[in-house]
């Protein structure tokens, strides 16, 4: 082959891997840049002062508390639901899955209204919840659960569907009830996927803003989570707000990564 020809064929062979790499680089840059920028914009001084501000600390504490509670609920109720969706075939299954995805497309504020209109004092089930939710910490948990649940549900369903059904059958023939099979085989075997799902859900819950504000309000120490505290400071103490954002991102980033590594390690 002539040198030119070789060059040309070489080019013909390498453009695609190159294109892939470029695509991934672009994606990563685009998604990371804003995050980096936030940190760049916040001097360490701001970080300190943001954490010095008691309200901010309270907000972070509340965020942790509420998001953890929400995650616990999602884990306890959502995981069996996902298991059912993954292991049984029934009519309206596709519809159910879509229903689970719907909350993702609600503008946060509208989601908040929806929650008010259903669980608020005048809501469809108003009598049921009374006013123990709205403007109370419980309300925050409800809002977070609502927006975060879909992430865990979809991931958990995928994880359970990936299990070898023979494992579940085997467990039965070895004298284990369906419940024991679920607890001792399905969950540990799907460990990784479940962890990832919870991580995503937790992250989303930590970032939730619109629905919480609408449904639970923004009462310092009671319903004011970190994102609300950030929002409240935009108008007034912009730098502190940004710093708080940075803290939040750092926390959830660390969270996601650690859970992923944890999920990978053989349990």
């Amino acid at each position: 082959m002539s040198a030119v020809a070789t060059a040309r064929t070489a080019a013909r062979r390498t453009w695609f891997p190159a294109a892939l790499t470029v695509a991934l680089t672009v994606v990563l840059l685009f998604l990371l840049l804003p995050v980096v920028a936030i940190f760049a914009d916040t001097g360490p001084g701001d970080l300190i002062s943001s954490l010095g501000d008691p309200a901010a600390r309270e907000a972070l504490k509340l965020s942790a508390l509420c998001s953890l509670t929400a995650i616990a609920i999602i884990l306890v109720v959502g995981t069996p639901a996902a298991y059912l969706l993954a292991t049984r075939r029934f009519t309206g299954r596709a519809a159910a899955i879509t229903a689970i995805e719907l909350p993702l497309v609600l503008p946060p504020a509208v989601a908040g209204i929806g929650l008010l209109a259903s669980l608020g004092p005048n809501g469809i089930l108003g009598g049921l919840a009374g006013d123990r939710l709205v403007l109370h910490t419980a309300g925050v948990v409800v809002a977070l659960t609502f927006v975060a649940a879909p992430f865990h549900l979809r991931q958990a369903q995928a994880a359970f569907e990936a299990l070898d059904p023979a494992w579940l059958d085997a467990s039965r023939t070895l004298g284990a009830s369906p419940a024991r099979t679920f607890a001792r085989i399905a969950i540990p075997a799907a460990r990784g996927g479940l962890a990832a799902g919870l991580a995503l859900a937790w992250g989303r819950a930590l970032g939730e803003f619109g629905a919480t504000l609408m449904f639970a309000g923004s009462f310092r120490g009671i319903t004011q989570t970190a994102p609300l505290a950030i929002y409240e400071r935009f108008g007034t103490e912009f730098d502190v707000a940004l710093a708080l954002g940075a803290v939040l991102v750092a926390l959830s980033g660390a969270l996601l990564l650690s859970v992923k590594l944890l999920g990978r390690a053989p349990g």
């Binding site: 023979a166 467990s171 023939t173 540990p188």
Partner: protein, 354 residues
């Protein structure tokens, strides 16, 4: 005693099987992929609920769709070895076995599990996870696990298919002893006839959801009930059209050319089955004088020596295989492309109406 009756629709398949197995006996279910073999085992284990069916084990009814009885799988005490063993990936070998022992006090389970692993010679692997075990080791752990609960019935789904030939031979021998010792009725699924013959006291050939023939391996090989069984047991099957021949014989015009004589009676479309070791070869042109009535001019496709025997692939023009001693093969100087005459007795042929 295990009695199974099941009649149900599985996708495209109509499963309709009734069989019984005596304690300590092993019935091998052999048949092609999709025949319904696994489904039968699943019905016995309580993993598949047929539309109509009965499963009775030692007089205890596990399933009776008419009387609305359906004992859940976990209460049936069926020892099931799954097609790919289905060991729990997140548990060690010991934990896999101990999982089946939750009727024992917690502290005894480990000891008990180790004893079982010991019995199958894999005690030293008790702390390994399935991922790190070889096929043969997995099979042993799976067996130990399946026997942990002293099952009332043993269900083995292709227990050897995941093994390579190196381990398969020895694994087969072990499995034989296990089945004998277990003393429970055993259903074994395979799609390899030799395996079925080796491990089963009896073989049930299952195809399209029905048991087409049941008997000892020898019986099936000697008197196959259908072309399928014949082919399945390793016989050569030629297709053709039968017409009455001289003095009570039948002449078969083979598809693609050539005519055979058979002592059996049949007319119309038939399959002719004959075993490779019934077929002798002679140099083209001069067939050896003798009682053999069938002489086919054939071309040698392949010559394969196995031990002191030689398998010769032939085109007649329908493909057919002869088995000779190495000696006679040398004498004939067989080589691909050589033209010879294939000779076999009219009595050696079986006619099966298609």
């Amino acid at each position: 005693m295990l009695q199974v009756e099941t009649r149900t629709t599985l996708g495209a398949l109509q499963l309709d099987v009734a069989l019984d197995v005596a304690p300590g006996r092993c019935l091998a279910l052999a048949g092609p992929s999709g025949a319904g073999k696994t489904s039968v085992l699943r019905t016995v284990a309580g993993l598949l609920r047929p539309e109509h069916g009965r499963v009775v084990c030692d007089g205890e009814t596990w399933l009776d769709t008419d009387r609305r009885i359906d004992v859940p799988a976990e209460e049936r005490r069926a020892g099931y070895v799954f097609q790919a063993y289905a060991l729990f990936p997140h548990l060690t070998a010991r934990a896999n076995v101990a999982y089946a022992l939750d009727h024992l006090p917690r502290r005894d389970r480990g000891k008990h599990a180790d004893a079982l692993l010991e019995r199958f010679g894999v005690a030293h692997l008790c702390d390994e996870r399935p991922r790190t075990l070889s096929g043969g080791e997995r099979q042993r752990v799976a067996l130990a696990r399946a026997l942990a609960r002293r099952p009332r019935v043993l269900l083995l789904d292709e227990p050897l298919s995941a093994l390579d030939t190196r381990t398969r031979a020895s694994a087969a021998r072990e499995l034989g002893t296990v089945i004998a010792e277990a003393g429970a009725p055993t259903l074994l699924v395979t799609h390899d006839f030799t395996e079925a013959a080796l491990l089963g006291h009896e073989v049930g050939v299952i195809d399209g959801g029905r048991v087409v023939q049941r008997g000892t391996a020898a019986e099936l090989a000697a008197t196959p009930a259908s072309a399928f069984v014949a082919d399945f047991t390793g016989a050569v099957v030629l297709t053709g059209t039968a017409r009455p021949g001289p003095d009570g014989t039948t002449l078969v015009d083979l598809d693609g050319g050539g005519t055979l004589t058979s002592v059996e009676r049949a007319e119309g479309l038939v399959a002719v089955s004959v075993y490779p070791w019934e077929i002798a070869l002679a140099p083209a042109g001069k067939p050896d004088p003798g009682s053999a009535r069938n002489h086919l001019a054939v071309e040698v496709l392949a010559v394969t020596a196995i031990g002191n025997r030689v398998r010769v692939g032939l085109a007649a023009p329908q493909p057919l295989t002869a088995e000779l001693t190495a000696a006679s093969a040398r004498a004939l100087e067989l080589a691909p492309g050589a033209r010879v005459t294939a000779t076999f007795k009219a009595a050696a042929t079986r006619l099966l109406v298609r």
